[in-house]
Subunit: 172 residues, 2 copies
């Protein structure tokens, strides 16, 4: 069942190295980290998104805004952009939708009228009180097959990759 996407024609791959010097280079996407990572992340993201969407009519952007609000209980659109790496237009729309639904409030900051302080409304808090445990339970199930060590190592390696990514991005 789950072999379908990894099996492909890897079986025949051993023919690669004997093609002489000007051989066409091959790329096995299943061995190519960017592809594999993206594919995995995509599936996870989509599966979770279904949970947000079906049960709470939230898209990913909206969910992220709420999640951030759940632990920085004051926030601005700008900060959300910085934290989540999402486009400001996307954030703006997510905020608007959440406000329209009465899940968050949005008030101009007294200090600087350009900024808008975001807060969870009681309705928003109630929704999160349901959604966050559900999301955490889902995640727990996802990582259930990993040992504690594997999990820790995974996060570690991810952090390394993030750091390296920035280094590469900076110069290239």
């Amino acid at each position: 069942m789950n072999m379908e996407d990894t099996q492909a024609d890897n079986a025949g791959d051993s023919t690669v190295s004997d093609n002489g010097p000007s051989t066409k280079p091959e790329l096995d996407l299943n061995q190519f980290l960017p592809y594999r990572l993206n594919s995995l992340a995509d599936r996870i993201s989509q599966a979770l998104a279904q949970l947000y969407e079906e049960r709470y009519q939230l898209n990913i952007a909206q969910w992220r805004v709420l999640a951030w609000l759940s632990h920085c209980d004051e926030l601005t659109a700008k900060k959300v952009c910085a934290y989540t790496n999402m486009d400001k237009a996307r954030v703006s729309r997510a905020i608007q939708a959440l406000e329209d639904r009465g899940l968050i409030s949005r008030t101009p900051s007294p200090r600087d009228q350009r900024l808008h302080d975001l807060h969870l409304t009681p309705a928003g808090q109630a929704l999160l009180a349901e959604l966050i445990p559900a999301a955490q339970a889902w995640e727990a199930e996802l990582v259930a097959t990993l040992t504690a060590g594997e999990y820790r190592d995974l996060l570690n390696v991810m952090r390394k990759l993030e750091r390296q990514l920035e280094r590469i991005g900076d110069k290239g």
Copy 2:
């Protein structure tokens, strides 16, 4: 430098835990695997996409088709869908674009007229001969900070997650 997205305002967050028993649950997205994974994969994907796009005017879908063609030198749209998990419309358009550019050829299969066999043209092979090493070099740089063990473990853990994901998905 790279601390920007993990730092956030976690500093002030310690005020959360004193909210009593019915306290709002928190979710730190930076500790939430689906988010972290997606965020990382997104950045990697975008960085690489830039390479395809700027230097070769290929989008991700097109690149994936080419990459698969690089080592299954006969292929159909259907297979590409299966291997890459992309929508068939997306694949269809990618194939069309590649054909228009003369990078691949597309001929109805003699066995079954519904299927179209895809092949790299010489131009396509030439492009890949440049692009694949570039992509691999980029990947090598990305994973340069990982030990061989870490790299292997990462792929292993990813495979576990993929499998678990399907198990979860199956039951709904």
